[in-house]
């Protein structure tokens, strides 16, 4: 009996320890009791005049999406190298957001990137507790003294993608597969649909939701449904779920195309991604780190779009896939119109 108990105890301890290790391997910093101690330590440090640059990136979606999160990380790395930041990345699960932000604050990180709107609630609660720490909320609507909220005018770039897609479609049917009906996804859909209708009033355009950003199975299933119905241009806005869409497009062959999102995806399926709905997360993170290191950091809400060069419709290199010059010209023309303000792409869907 005693032996069994011993086994039980050691086994459970092992499992729990491993679970902790795996679940928050990166977050694994202690907090709570040490909070005060560290705050004091931090103050002393600042009093001594040595302000270390420490930037943390907290992302609820995991690295390796070949998309926005990786782009942010690339920006973080570039910024760290250029300006001498000490950096850390956390990938907390839902429910661990507050703890992970707090642990970073307590650890002396003074610039914290919180990626995507899921983090917003946690940031709004913690930011007032740490007035000396600067937060960057990527996507959201927070207005606080030490929070910079960065939004993209996704609808502008996706409007251009819509135009190009409508011109390239042979069947006259184009579609968006989005992750969920949330802010940036909706902006992308609205812009894309308006753009497609602008280029071709008779175009059939629709949008589907996967309901998850991490479900490639459903992504592929939805893409197949669309392809079966004759849709031949599909814009993906669904992070990891898009891995399934890529497969569906690739299997269907030459005649159908995917439109990439966030990053230039043209190399993912050579010859089948003519252009991508690009938003420059890398530059966002990098330039914010630059501002911060130069002491020019300003809190507030910013909206970046075509004008700032933060979003654009980016075409594939000619050796990967050739896109007709007239389409590129048309897109450039509309780009100018949007920058001039003669066309304002909608940011919301009608009737939803």
């Amino acid at each position: 009996m005693r032996k069994t108990k011993k086994w039980l105890a050691s086994g459970l301890v092992f499992v729990l320890a491993m679970a902790l290790f795996a679940g928050c391997g990166k977050a694994g910093e202690e907090q709570g009791g040490r909070q005060k101690e560290q705050q004091e330590g931090q103050k002393e440090e600042q009093d001594a005049g040595e302000k270390k640059l420490k930037a943390a990136m907290i992302t609820p979606q995991k690295l390796g999406d070949d998309g926005p999160i990786d782009a942010c990380y690339a920006g973080l790395l570039a910024g760290a190298e250029e300006f001498g930041y000490e950096i850390k990345v956390l990938e907390p699960e839902a429910g661990e957001y507050e703890d992970s932000i707090r642990s970073m604050c307590d650890d002396g990180y003074n610039l914290i990137f919180c990626i995507f709107s899921q983090m917003q609630d946690a940031v709004s609660r913690i930011a007032p507790e740490y007035p000396d720490v600067m937060f960057v909320q990527v996507l959201g609507d927070l207005e606080m003294d030490n929070v910079k909220t960065i939004n993209y005018k996704d609808q502008e770039a996706s409007f251009l993608c819509g135009i190009a897609a409508a011109k390239m479609s042979k069947t006259g049917k184009v579609a968006v597969i989005a992750g969920a009906p949330v802010g940036d996804n909706v902006r992308n859909i609205a812009g894309f649909e308006a753009g497609a209708r602008e280029a071709d009033p008779d175009i059939q355009v629709t949008h589907l939701y996967v309901g998850s950003f991490e479900d490639p199975t459903k992504g592929k299933e939805l893409a197949n449904t669309l392809l079966d119905e004759g849709y031949d241009m599909i814009l993906q806005v669904c992070a990891s779920s898009s891995m399934g869409i890529r497969e569906a497009i690739k299997e269907r062959g030459e005649n159908v195309c995917m439109i990439g999102n966030c990053v230039d995806e043209s190399a993912a399926i050579p010859g089948q991604v003519p252009f991508s709905n690009f938003s420059d997360h890398k530059k966002t993170v990098y330039s914010t780190m630059k501002e911060f290191s130069e002491g020019k950091f300003e809190a507030g809400v910013v909206n970046w779009g075509l004008e700032e060069g933060m979003t654009k419709c980016i075409f594939a290199e000619d050796d990967v896939m050739e896109v007709p010059q007239e389409i590129k010209d048309l897109v450039a023309e509309y780009e100018q119109k949007i920058i001039d303000g003669t066309i304002v792409p909608p940011a919301e869907l009608e009737g939803e």
């Binding site: 391997g25 995991k62 690295l63 390796g64 999160i69 589907l208 299933e221 449904t225 990891s240």
Partner: protein, 301 residues
């Protein structure tokens, strides 16, 4: 939209859930509460993809997936039956552990974080023959599926036969319903439970293979997205009857396939995404046992 192509999608959607569910059903009937389906499927899928990546053979990949499932169930058995750990606690922590482990290994072995996509990964081939495709309805059901799909339904039917028509099955039921009595008449309760555990693990591993290599040929972190828990729910809900389990999982698969199609009709998306789950909630109001009693009463009249 009402073509029979939807049947094929239904089968595909139902397969991983039914397979993992049927495996776990053995556990359930033998009186073991094993909730490690999700983690087992995920890790099984991961090792299958990893094996396929290195060897280029889907056959070995399938074996790797099954072996992973079995290994996971062995660890579970060790921690619960040998060490005496609480089944739920061990199950929960193992699910979290395995999710993290798959990401950890992905980083260590492939230096990738989050996803593994590569030309070298060979998927399980989809069986499609011109003959089969031309048969109406049946063709839609069976054409273009992997053999894992066929196997799953055969396995579920076989499980019904095994449980209710063979000595082994009756022993399993006895272990679950009254272990003391079973032990008294000389049934090796621990041995039976051990075997059930292995069957469950193997099935979960194979279900993971179907998710990562059957329909796709890639691995992304957390790609099972709760299908293990849905399978667990389906087992509880079907009260351990394989035939009911088939019905429940097919119903869920159908609802999910429908929700894909219905989205094209421009209905409010929130409602449509809710469909599969709503369908399950409605289904819980259907009480199979009551239905039977009612029909019996009618017969009596």
């Amino acid at each position: 939209m009402l073509d029979f192509g939807i049947l094929g999608v239904t089968m595909r959607m139902a397969t991983p859930i039914l397979l993992a569910g049927t495996g776990t059903l053995y556990n359930d009937r033998a009186g073991v509460t094993n909730i490690t389906l999700e983690g087992s499927m995920l890790l099984g899928g991961f090792f299958a993809v990893a094996c396929s990546f290195f060897t280029g053979s889907w056959g070995l990949a399938v074996l790797a997936g099954i072996a992973t499932g079995v290994a996971v169930s062995l660890v579970f058995y060790f921690l619960t039956s040998v060490c005496g750990g609480d089944e739920l606690v061990v199950g929960f922590s193992m699910n979290i552990l395995l999710d993290g482990l798959s990401i950890f290994l992905l980083k260590q072995i492939f230096h990738q974080s989050g996803s593994l996509v590569d030309e070298r990964i060979a998927g399980v081939p989809q069986i499609s023959s011109g003959m089969l495709g031309r048969i109406p309805i049946l063709g839609d059901l069976l054409d273009g599926q992997t053999w894992i799909v066929y196997f799953t339904f055969a396995f579920a039917l076989l499980t019904w036969v095994v449980l209710y028509r063979t000595p082994f099955g009756l022993k399993v039921l006895a272990c679950g319903e009254n272990p003391q009595a079973a032990a008294t008449v000389g049934v090796g309760v621990l041995k039976i439970r051990f075997l059930c555990n292995l069957i469950g693990g193997a099935a979960c591993g194979l279900a993971g293979v179907q998710i990562s290599l059957g329909f796709l040929s890639l691995f992304t972190q957390g790609m099972t997205v709760g299908r293990g828990f849905i399978a667990l729910g389906a087992v509880v809900f079907s009260k351990g009857n394989p035939l009911r389990l088939i019905a429940v999982t097919l119903f869920f698969g159908f609802a999910e396939a429908m929700s894909n199609r219905v989205q094209l009709m421009q209905l409010p998306s929130e409602l449509v995404l809710m469909l599969p789950y709503l369908a399950v909630v409605i289904l819980t109001f259907v009480r199979f046992d009551r239905l039977r009693k009612r029909t019996q009463k009618q017969e009596a009249c």
